[in-house]
């Protein structure tokens, strides 16, 4: 792919708490579909986004079974985005901040997620065409 760009994102929010997570995934999707190289440094609560133990549930208020509810799992979104990036000729490199993982007990992440430190984020920044930090509140 001609002129593939590299973008780095830093995320901070855990799943299910704020609209920022959804917007972040929308941005990652847009970049992945362009065949670009996308770096994600997950800091603080965002290390829970690819947590392997997320599980779907039913929705009794709406009378929906587990299957019918088809509840989103951010770990599935991360996996799907990794696949999409590859399919379009790019990549999605997801790094969880290791200390943030340790203090939250979120060590079990889906395959393809690696552990790192803020120094890894700095390497991502230096190697990218641009970087966007999405802060938490």
């Amino acid at each position: 792919m001609a002129d593939a760009k590299t973008l780095t994102f830093l995320l901070m929010d855990p799943p299910y708490e704020d609209a920022r997570s959804t917007t972040a995934f929308r941005l990652l999707d847009a970049a992945a579909r362009r065949g670009w190289h996308v770096n994600v440094f997950a800091y603080e609560g965002a290390v829970a986004l690819p947590f392997a133990k997320q599980a779907p549930h039913a929705n009794a208020v709406h009378g929906r079974s587990v299957e019918e509810e088809n509840h989103p799992l951010p770990r599935e979104w991360v996996r799907a985005l990794m696949e999409t990036a590859r399919a379009y000729g790019g990549s999605l490199d997801w790094v969880n901040c290791g200390l943030c993982v340790d203090e939250r007990g979120a060590g079990e992440a889906i395959e393809g997620v690696r552990r790192g430190s803020p120094a890894d984020f700095w390497k991502m920044v230096e190697g990218a065409d641009n970087t966007l930090v999405i802060p938490t509140r």
């Binding site: 917007t23 929308r26 362009r34 065409d129 641009n130 966007l132 930090v133």
Partner: protein
């Protein structure tokens, strides 16, 4: 001059500091910089035509390109044809494209 992408995810009705962020966008434009303000999430709420907030029209008048995320508008039932003057609906793709162009970008 520099080119900026300011992403505004908050609304002035609940966040007192949104006004300062808008004013920064105006200041940058007045310095001669190219500025795009991309409204997303609740940041699109003041873009509704009858919203009691006039800052966005002033921003556009100062030369800031003001875009509102199409999905965020739809999610909140704000018709893309009934926006404050100077605000244009845009897909989220604009953000990644402007990032790829190298715009100095930060999220509020």
């Amino acid at each position: 001059m520099a080119k900026y992408l300011l992403i505004e995810s908050r609304d002035p009705f609940t966040s007192a500091d949104v006004d300062a962020h808008w004013q920064l966008a105006t200041s940058l434009a007045r310095e001669g910089d190219t500025v795009t303000l991309f409204l997303v999430q609740n940041g699109v709420l003041p873009a509704r035509l009858r919203a009691r907030s006039h800052g966005l029209a002033e921003l556009a008048g100062a030369g800031v390109e003001v875009l509102a995320d199409e999905f965020s508008l739809r999610e909140r039932g704000i018709a893309p044809t009934a926006l404050v003057a100077g605000v244009r609906p845009a897909p989220i793709d604009v953000v990644v494209d402007l990032l790829a162009e190298g715009r100095k970008a930060f999220w509020h």
